[in-house]
């Protein structure tokens, strides 16, 4: 092999191109190497021997193992995959929980009893908003602007009045009591006639029902605890449909009954 085959910088010489063609297996090159070297190169390019293809089964098995879904190639570090419905479910759960809490608090506020009214400073805010904001306007309005029989019936006023005596824990609600007393006083024609007036409103049904007042000369009892003062079936007065609700929510009797 002549040394002129050594590659040089610049354009490839003919011999260099022939050498490239020889190594690449291309035809049409001039003989640039001896016959034995050409034979070696040809032998290196011989057809595959059987043992060179023996590993096909193993290669296929490797391919199946690595390319199969869930195989090592597809294994990825576990990460939090976005779940389309996750936020909806969480929102629904939070909404249900919030609704449950509101219901519990509303029930607690509605049936907290006169102890809450007797201790205004200790009442929860929700209870105050549920009871006093609904009950107070009619009572306060009647106390300040005069009697409003159309708002609260005389019977209910009498019940509330008696409840102040039957449930001492409600004494602290002086505003409501004062309003009731003023209304009844105007209806009865004086403070001294309230008992008689209420006695007449309740009729014979109230006589002898309440042990606290049975011994009294003029103070009638408020009736049985089962006798709901705000029940529209018993007291379908002129107060309309709101009146029983007010009686149940803000009335000392109903609240006290539940609280016990």
């Amino acid at each position: 092999m002549p040394d002129s085959l050594l590659p040089i910088q610049g354009p490839a010489s003919q011999r260099e191109r022939d050498l490239d063609a020889l190594l690449s297996g291309e035809a049409g090159y001039h003989v640039v190497v001896s016959a034995p070297v050409a034979a070696v190169i040809a032998a290196l390019r011989a057809v595959p021997a059987p043992d060179e293809l023996d590993g096909e089964a193993a290669a296929r098995a490797t391919f199946r193992l690595l390319m199969a879904p869930g195989g090592p190639r597809h294994a990825r570090p576990r990460r939090l995959v976005p779940w389309p419905g996750r936020w909806q479910v969480m929102a629904a759960a939070c909404g249900a929980a919030a609704a449950a809490i509101v219901c519990v608090l509303a029930l607690a506020g509605a049936f907290s009893g006169p102890s809450g009214q007797g201790q205004p400073g200790k009442r929860p805010s929700l209870q105050a908003s549920a009871s006093s904001q609904r009950a107070t306007p009619s009572l306060l309005g009647s106390a300040t602007a005069g009697p409003t029989p159309s708002a609260v019936s005389p019977e209910q006023l009498c019940h509330q009045y008696m409840n102040f005596f039957t449930h001492p824990e409600s004494y602290g609600n002086w505003t409501a009591e004062k309003g009731v007393v003023q209304q009844l006083s105007k209806l009865a024609g004086g403070h001294m006639r309230i008992n008689g007036y209420c006695d007449g409103q309740s009729g014979a049904r109230t006589h002898g029902h309440h042990p606290d007042f049975q011994g009294g000369a003029v103070v009638p009892g408020p009736g049985d605890p089962q006798d709901h003062p705000g029940d529209p079936q018993d007291h379908g007065g002129p107060g309309g449909p709101d009146t029983p609700r007010l009686g149940r929510q803000a009335g000392p009797f109903s609240a006290g009954q539940t609280g016990r």
């Binding site: 190594l23 595959p48 590993g55």
Partner: protein
């Protein structure tokens, strides 16, 4: 070489087609084994298996034509070869027994295949006597079918260096062969 169907075969293999992967394997594995048997005859099969494992793992991410595919395959093989050489230096091992290769006739033209195989073995044994870098260049150029630039990229050399190595390798082969050629282990003269 796979030829014009290479893009389709590669795409199918990347999509999980085992048969198309076998096409790629049958086309490239003989050259890969010859390359490795020249440069690391004691662990050629193991390195070839490791090479295919790495290739399959990266198959889905590969893009390129057939030349790039073969360059990638032999680049992977060379890296595994270097890893294996590093491992053997750290943990030298001596084989307890040498297993003779089985010679089982498998095709009708067995005689010709045996002759070709013997000639190939003799040629590979001759190339294995070259300095490693020259043997790399000869095998990558002749057996792997890579051009000068691809070989230069694999070996980290310039194309001019590759040409020089190829020339020196061929000259060395001529010296080894002598005027009468080379005799194989079976007595077949090339």
């Amino acid at each position: 070489m796979v030829g014009d169907d290479f893009a389709r075969v590669l795409a199918d293999a990347q999509g999980g087609s085992e048969d198309q992967f076998a096409v790629l394997w049958r086309d490239a594995n003989p050259a890969l084994l010859r390359y490795l048997r020249v440069l690391a005859p004691e662990c050629a099969d193991d390195v070839a298996a490791e090479t295919w494992v790495h290739v399959v793992r990266g198959l889905a991410r590969f893009t390129g034509d057939e030349a790039a595919w073969r360059a990638w395959l032999f680049t992977t093989a060379r890296r595994r070869l270097l890893d294996q050489a590093r491992l053997r230096r750290r943990h030298p091992a001596e084989p307890l027994d040498e297993i003779a290769p089985a010679e089982v006739p498998r095709t009708p033209d067995t005689a010709q295949i045996v002759l070709d195989n013997l000639a190939t073995d003799a040629a590979m044994a001759l190339v294995a006597q070259l300095p490693p870098l020259q043997a790399h260049v000869i095998m990558l150029r002749v057996v792997a079918g890579l051009d000068t630039d691809a070989v230069a990229g694999i070996l980290g050399k310039t194309p001019g260096n590759v040409r020089v190595m190829a020339h020196r390798g061929l000259k060395k082969l001529e010296t080894l062969l002598g005027p009468a050629g080379v005799a194989s282990r079976a007595g077949v003269t090339l």
